[in-house]
Subunit: 327 residues, 2 copies
């Protein structure tokens, strides 16, 4: 490997070698989608979800749009990272003093382990969409931090370690609807409860594929060059938004600095399960698994707001591509 | 007086008695507007500004739209609260380490004294409108707190004392443009730098005059009933927004609780200098002076985003009106 992932090894990472015919820096799992429609009772569509290694196997927090159309978060478990079994009751969050908090909705969770806690950052409502931060030690009891962000916001993504002694989080401030703008910002916190020192990170592109909005995807991956940030970019066409996957490298000590930004998308909706579905033309990356030993990366993405799929790459392939097509 | 203002006396508060013919709970100064167009070199329009008592006289932080059309903040001084002399150089803010910070723009300042510092909360840009917090001890050297709020936000208003040991601030989250929605939220901070525990306070009204958006106006006034909050309410007509003045009483210990909300506006654009100007039909309250001994209140408001005017009321008149027309 030319490049290095800082992080643990993951021997059982779900992975397939790059097909010989593939010209893009990401390639799809041959048996995609891994989660089809109606995967469990009352769950119509499962997509935009987060998976982590857990006790030698895999655990995920999944967005399921229920048959009322309202999304909530559900736990899923897998031995191999491909096939998941779901809990059929949504995650129940509690306030600091133990009261159950009724959420209007919850979607697009980002899950990570940080200092012995598991954090879930997701979109929820406080009279308008904003970021919720949940935490758990055991995936049985979940606490919700008391309204850490004002509306309107979406796509909150924590860094996997403190930066200069503070928690750091990317987000995409928005409006109350299907926002037709979106840039990526960085926020800092000493305690996960109060946030400040907000920084502008990256604007939507002059490149058409991400000309309407950009938002962080999976938890950034620490590499020798900096933080590898996969992101979604949206393009407003005459018939709605098209979401593709992009990537950039952020400075390790000051992630508001974009060191390299790839002008090209890495992958765009091409397959039937990405181009058709509840929301056509959406390929939306939400979480990654990485193996620091081999440099392999598996990306879990939503297809057409309907199904869950896996994409693969490796650190050299993706960084070479970013550098080759950097602005 | 039936009701009580908690706060200092202000013997020299600018004031006029209510005209006999006046039927509204607020009445206009007989010589409005107090600041006409082009009041000083390079200042085209001065409006939406904040005035406080200062060393026996009055001092204000003024929004002046310069002849480039871009607004910045300027200091003004007055012996009587009616006639102001201006500094012709805009306020220069410094970072914590003394560097001058170049602001893209600055407008709609709210000024108050809190624990021996003077704070200015205003709208500025971090690649989109958001709240800036400046502070000074002497109105000569001004420091800017490091990006305390994410975009998009406007109309930040600090409470004049800590509540349950924390700073408290009202704001109106918005979008990047001439936002056609707006509700009032409350945020807390231990240090003015990091903010959290955000609360929903008050939604735009079913009443048409404030059916599009509501936002806090002057620093809330502490009374025996609770926090008296004057606010602006906007109504979208076929020819643009109309801004009027409303009022509500918030709980003293938990200002996210609205105890009384007046269904009626207290005053709407009626005069030529409110109905015509750079932005027709805007009456926009930004700051108050109060005398706790007599209960007198003077409100500084912008007219048509063009001039500055003064309105008067007293605590019994305004609270009686709020209670009479409370929802």
């Amino acid at each position: 490997m030319k490049h290095k992932i800082y992080g643990p090894e993951l021997k059982n990472i779900p992975f397939e070698e790059k097909p010989v015919s593939c010209t893009s820096p990401l390639w799809r799992y041959s048996k995609n989608p891994i989660i089809e429609m109606n995967p469990f009772e009352n769950a119509s569509r499962v997509f935009n979800s987060s998976i982590i290694p857990y006790k030698g196997e895999f655990l995920g927090v999944f967005r399921a749009d229920t048959t009322s159309g309202v999304p909530y978060l559900f736990i899923g478990r897998s031995k191999d990272g491909f096939k998941f079994e779901f809990e059929t009751k949504p995650i129940e969050f509690h306030s600091k003093d133990g009261k159950i908090i009724k959420l209007e909705y919850a979607y697009d969770p980002r899950l990570l382990e940080l200092e012995g806690e598991y954090y879930i950052i997701f979109c929820t409502s406080n009279h308008g969409p904003t970021l919720g931060i949940g935490k758990t030690k055991d995936f049985k009891y979940f606490e919700l931090i008391d309204n850490p962000f004002l509306p309107y916001n979406r796509n909150g993504v924590l860094f996997p370690r403190k930066i200069n002694g503070e928690y750091a989080l990317l987000s995409r401030p928005s409006d109350a609807g299907h926002t037709l703008f979106g840039d990526i910002y960085l926020s800092y916190s000493k305690d996960m409860e109060y946030w400040g020192k907000h920084r502008f990170v990256m604007e939507r592109g002059y490149e058409w594929w991400c000309g309407t909005k950009v938002g962080a995807g999976p938890v950034p991956i620490e590499t020798d060059l900096g933080w590898l940030m996969f992101f979604h970019g949206a393009n407003l066409t005459c018939s709605g938004l098209v979401y593709s996957i992009g990537a950039a490298i952020l400075d390790r000590d000051d992630p508001s600095k974009v060191l390299y930004r790839c002008s090209n998308f890495l992958l765009a909706p091409e397959k039937e399960y990405e181009q058709t579905g509840y929301v056509p033309n959406v390929l939306f990356p939400v979480s990654c698994l990485c193996d620091s030993k081999t440099g392999r990366i598996a990306i879990y993405a939503g297809g057409a707001d309907t199904v869950t799929e896996i994409l693969f790459t490796d650190i050299d392939t993706v960084i070479d591509y970013i550098l080759k097509y950097a602005r």
